[in-house]
Point group: C2
Chain length 522, copies 2
C-alpha cells in the first residue's frame, strides 16, 4: 500500500484521530494509561543447530553483501540497526547500500533511530530499495516523511516500545545488522572498547535475540572471547570486518557541555531546587536526566545540593556523561544504570567501573515485561518541543507540524515517580506552552511538573507535590499564568500548522496502541 | 501413564533400544552425531504487562506457599530448580513441600540436578506430589528411579540439553523457583555475593527466561539494584525472603583437594604431558577440566608445564576452583569462562575479577543455538564410569546398571577439539574399560583419548593425534591392550547387570533425540 490510499481513522481515548490500519497491519487505538491488556505469547525465533555453524566458532564472511545474501535478504524484508553510534554511524547506510547492490526492493528499515548523516537513505527510498522507515527520524528523514514522500507510513516508537514491538511480534526483524565497536569472530560484541567505542549496546539487544538473522559488523576484531559480551555470539550468524564502523568524533562528544544560557541555567537550577524542596532528593533516591544542556546543568546543580545536604543516591540512570561519572566517583551514587553513553569520560567509566552498569530497553523500559526500571526512578527530567495546559507533551514535531525528532526513552520515563519537563517558555518567539500539543507523545496525567525560566507549574492532579513545596521559595504558578505571560511576549498563540488530512506517521504508546498521528505538511 | 504400561521400543542409530514414547510424549531416536535437523520456532513465554506488576518494583510476598498459589500452581504442572547450591540446597525441597501443603499432585520436578540431601523427594513421590523427576539424579534419587519406583520415566539431559529442551519447548516450565544468594525486591539476582554465595547462576537462566512464572527465593535481600544481575528481575514474578537458602559448607568447599592417590596422580600427569607433547598446549589455547581429584591434579601439572614452556592460554573453562583462579592471577590465562563455581576462592574471584566471567548453558552448551563455546575449546578432560573399546562413554550408571550420576556438561564437552577421558583402569576391582558401556552417554566418535594409569589409548579415528605424539615418551597403547591387562588383574569382565526389560529413564543426546535407556534393576 501507499499512503495515497484512503485511510480509515478512529478516535482514540485521548481524542486523537488515528489510522485503523498502518502499512497493512490493523492497529489498536490508544485506550488510556494502563488500559490495554496485553495477551498472547512472545515472538519465537527459529530453532537453529550448532551443526550448521562453524565448529571453530569463526563466522566471518568477507563483506556485508555476502552476509546479507547468506541471510537470504529479499524484497519486502525488515532490516534493522541500532543507533548507539548516533550521527557518526556508518554501518546502517553500508548495509542498506549493500542491499541495494543485491537488487533488493521495498525493505522496511527498522533503526532504533536515524540521524541527519544518514540522509542518503532518501535516495534509497526514491529508488525503491526502502519502502519506509519504522523508527525515530531525526532531522531530514523526518522532514522527508512529513512532506508525504515516504511510500509507507512512519511508525514512531519509544525505546521501550521498540522492544515491546519486537518481543510481541508486531515487528518481525528478518535481518539485524549490528555495528560493534569490538567483536570476536563468533559474534560476541561489546560497545565499550575500540576506536569507535560508544559504551552500551542495549538498543541492539532485542534485535540480536529476536531477529531471524543477525550480522555483526566491527572495526575492532579481537580474539575470542570478546569480554564483556553485551551482544552474545550465540545469537549471531555472520561477522563482517570493515575498516571503520563510524566517525568517532560524532559517536561520542569529547566533552558534553552545560548550557551557558542564563535562562536555561535558571531552569536547571529550579529543577534541582524543586527536587530538593519537594523532599525527593533524599538518601537512597534515584533520578534520570538526559545529555542536553539543561539536563547537564541540572545534574551539576543537584550534585552541589546533594553535597551540601549530605545526600547520596542509590542509583542514577544514564544517558551517561562525565557529570554522572563524577557523581559516581565522588560517592554521590552507588550505581549508574546506563542506557546510552554520551561522552568519552562515560565510555571510559562503563568500560572499567563495575558500578557503571549497561542496561537495555528490556530492563529499563519494556512495558510488556514483568515491570521495568522506569517506574522505580524517583524523578526524571525531560525536554519537550511543546507542552499543553493539560500537561500533555510533544517531543516529535515542532509547532509547524514537521516531524524532526524521535521519542527516545521519553515516553517510558514518564512512569517515574515525578516527571519533570524542563523547557524554555518559548523558542524563536514560539511559545512552548500551548493550548493543545501538535502531536501527543505523552499523556498529561503522567507529566507532573513543568519547569520554565518563568516559573514552575505543577499538575493539579499531583496534590502531594503541591503540598510538598508549599511554603518553599520556589516560583510555583498555574500553567495558564505562565502561558499567558509568554503569549504577551511572543505576540499570541503560535500559528497552528497547515495540517493536511493525510497521515504520514503514527506515534505508538508504550503498550503498542496508537497515541497520535503525524500529518502531511504543506 | 506409569512405566508399568507396555512401552514400544525402537532401535536408534547407536544400536540401542529406546522407548518411542516417554511420559506421554513421542520421542525421536538418536540419529547419529549432527544428523538430526532441528526445526520449528523457540518456546514463546506469555506477554506480560507492567501494569500488572508493582510500580515501585517490590514483588515480595510473605512465603513460598503464597508465591506458588499466586503462580497458579496446580496438579500436573512442571516446577523447576537449579543446582548451583549443590548438596547444600534447601530451596528445592522447600518449594516441593510448599506445593505439597497446597495439596498439589502429580508434579514434574525439573531440577538441573538433584542431590542426596534432597532424598526427602522420595516421600513426595510416594505421596503422589511428584510424579517424576526430569533431571540429573545423583545418588539415592537415581537409585530409587532404577528400582522402578518412580511413577513417570526419568529423563536425563546434559546442561546444554536442558537448555535445548526448554528453548525448543520440549519441556514447558510452569513455575521456576530460583534460589538466589543475593537478590533485590524486583527479582534481580546474583550468585556471587551473600552468605550462601555459589558463584554463577547460569543453570537457572533458561528457567528465568522461558518459565511462565518465576519465583526468586533469597536469604540476602539487598536494596535495588542487585548488581550484577545474573537473573533479571524483568523475568521474575515474585520474591520470597527466607532465613537460609542452603548450607554454605555444602554449597562450596572451603578448599578443593587434589587427589593423593599415586595412580590418579599418574593419570593427571599423563593427561598434561599428552596435551603438551601433542602440541595442544600452545600459546592462545584453551581447555576445560572439572573439579574432581584427577582434574585438579591435571590442572596443577599443566600449569607447571605452561610456566616451564612460557605458554599462556586465551581462556580456561570452569567448573572453577582455586587452581584456575591461581592461573588467572599468575597471568597463565586471560579469562576464566565459568559455568559453575566450586570453592571459596573461585566464588571470591567471580565476584570481583572481571576476567572471571559467568557463563550459562546457552553460551557454552546449547546445541540448538548458532554455535556454542564447547566446540571452540581445544581440549577437555572428563571422567566416566565406563568406556568401551569403541571409545563410547558412560557417566550415568555403574556397571551394575544403577543410575547414580547426572550427565552435567559432559555430553556437551565432547564437542571440544580433543576430548580426553581421564579414568582409573578399574574401580573396586571392576574394570572401567569394557566391551560395551552399560548406558551409552557419549558416542565414541567424539571421544578421542582415554588416559589411564596403565597407558594412553588414542581413538584410531584421530590419526592426527596419533601422528602428533609419535616419537614422544608417552605410553600410547591400543585400548584393547589396556583392557586385557586390567581384566587379568580383576579376574575377567565385569558381570553384566541383571537388566530388566522395563525402561525407567532415558538419556537424551544434545539435540533432544534419545541416545539410550536406563533399565529397571533387580
Amino acid at each position: 500500500m501507499t499512503v495515497t490510499e484512503r485511510v480509515e481513522l478512529a478516535q482514540n481515548a485521548a481524542g486523537r484521530m488515528v489510522p485503523a490500519m498502518v502499512n497493512g497491519k490493523p492497529q489498536i487505538p490508544y485506550l488510556g494509561v494502563g488500559k490495554y491488556q496485553a495477551r498472547g505469547r512472545k515472538a519465537a525465533p527459529p530453532v537453529r543447530s550448532s551443526k550448521d555453524y562453524p565448529e571453530n566458532g569463526d563466522k566471518r564472511v568477507p563483506d556485508l553483501e555476502t552476509a546479507l545474501r547468506k541471510c537470504g535478504l529479499r524484497d519486502g524484508m525488515v532490516i534493522s540497526n541500532h543507533h548507539h553510534l548516533r550521527d557518526g554511524d556508518r554501518v546502517a547506510l553500508m548495509a542498506l547500500q549493500a542491499a541495494a547492490k543485491l537488487g533488493v526492493k521495498d525493505l522496511t528499515w527498522f533503526p532504533s533511530a536515524s540521524f541527519p548523516s544518514q540522509k542518503a537513505a532518501i535516495e534509497l527510498m526514491q529508488s525503491g530499495v526502502i519502502h519506509r522507515i519504522e523508527g525515530s527520524m531525526n532531522g531530514p528523514l523526518g522532514d522527508y516523511c512529513t512532506q508525504g514522500k515516504m511510500r509507507g507510513m512512519g511508525v514512531l516508537r519509544s525505546h521501550g516500545g521498540r522492544w515491546q514491538a519486537i518481543q510481541d511480534g508486531e515487528v518481525h526483524v528478518d535481518v539485524a545488522v549490528i555495528a560493534a565497536p569490538t567483536a570476536d569472530f563468533f559474534g560476541n560484541a561489546d560497545g565499550s572498547h575500540g576506536k569507535s567505542a560508544c559504551g552500551s549496546l542495549g538498543f541492539a539487544l532485542a534485535d540480536s535475540i529476536y531477529a531471524d538473522n543477525v550480522i555483526v559488523v566491527t572495526d575492532n576484531l579481537v580474539t575470542f572471547p570478546c569480554i564483556p559480551w553485551q551482544i552474545q555470539g550465540n545469537n549471531v550468524d555472520y561477522v563482517v570486518e570493515v575498516d571503520s564502523i563510524g566517525d568517532p568524533a560524532k559517536i561520542v562528544s569529547g566533552t558534553t557541555q552545560i548550557t551557558r544560557s542564563p535562562d536555561r541555567l535558571r531552569i536547571a537550577e529550579l529543577v534541582a531546587r524543586f527536587l530538593r524542596d519537594a523532599g525527593i532528593m533524599r538518601n537512597g533516591f534515584s533520578f534520570q536526566a538526559g545529555a542536553g544542556g539543561i539536563a547537564l546543568a541540572f545534574v551539576d546543580f543537584l550534585r552541589r545540593m546533594m553535597k551540601e545536604d549530605g545526600v547520596k543516591a542509590r542509583f542514577v540512570r544514564g544517558g551517561s556523561t562525565r557529570y554522572l561519572v563524577d557523581m559516581l566517583q565522588e560517592g554521590l551514587t552507588d550505581y549508574i544504570l546506563d542506557g546510552q553513553t554520551f561522552d568519552l569520560e562515560a565510555v571510559k567509566s562503563i568500560a572499567s567501573d563495575p558500578r557503571h552498569v549497561p542496561t537495555s530497553p528490556f530492563t529499563s523500559y519494556n512495558y510488556h515485561g514483568k515491570g521495568n526500571f522506569a517506574s522505580m526512578v524517583d524523578a526524571v527530567v525531560l525536554g519537550a518541543t511543546e507542552v499543553d495546559v493539560n500537561f500533555n507533551g510533544n517531543v516529535v514535531t515542532h509547532s509547524d507540524g514537521r516531524l524532526l525528532h524521535g521519542i527516545g526513552g521519553w515516553q517510558n520515563c514518564l512512569a517515574a515517580g515525578c516527571t519533570i519537563l524542563a523547557v524554555p517558555s518559548f523558542r524563536d518567539r514560539i511559545p512552548v506552552i500551548v493550548d493543545e500539543v501538535t502531536t501527543l507523545t505523552g499523556p498529561g496525567e503522567l507529566i507532573d511538573v513543568v519547569v520554565t525560566e518563568r516559573g514552575i507549574a505543577i499538575n493539579p492532579a499531583r496534590q502531594d507535590l503541591l503540598d510538598a513545596v508549599k511554603g518553599s521559595r520556589l516560583p510555583i504558578r498555574p500553567i495558564q499564568d505562565i502561558k499567558a505571560e509568554v503569549e504577551r511576549i511572543c505576540g499570541g498563540n503560535p500559528a497552528r500548522p497547515q495540517r493536511g488530512d493525510r497521515p504520514v506517521a503514527i506515534v505508538k504508546w508504550v503498550d503498542g496502541t496508537v497515541l497520535d498521528t503525524v500529518w502531511q505538511v504543506g
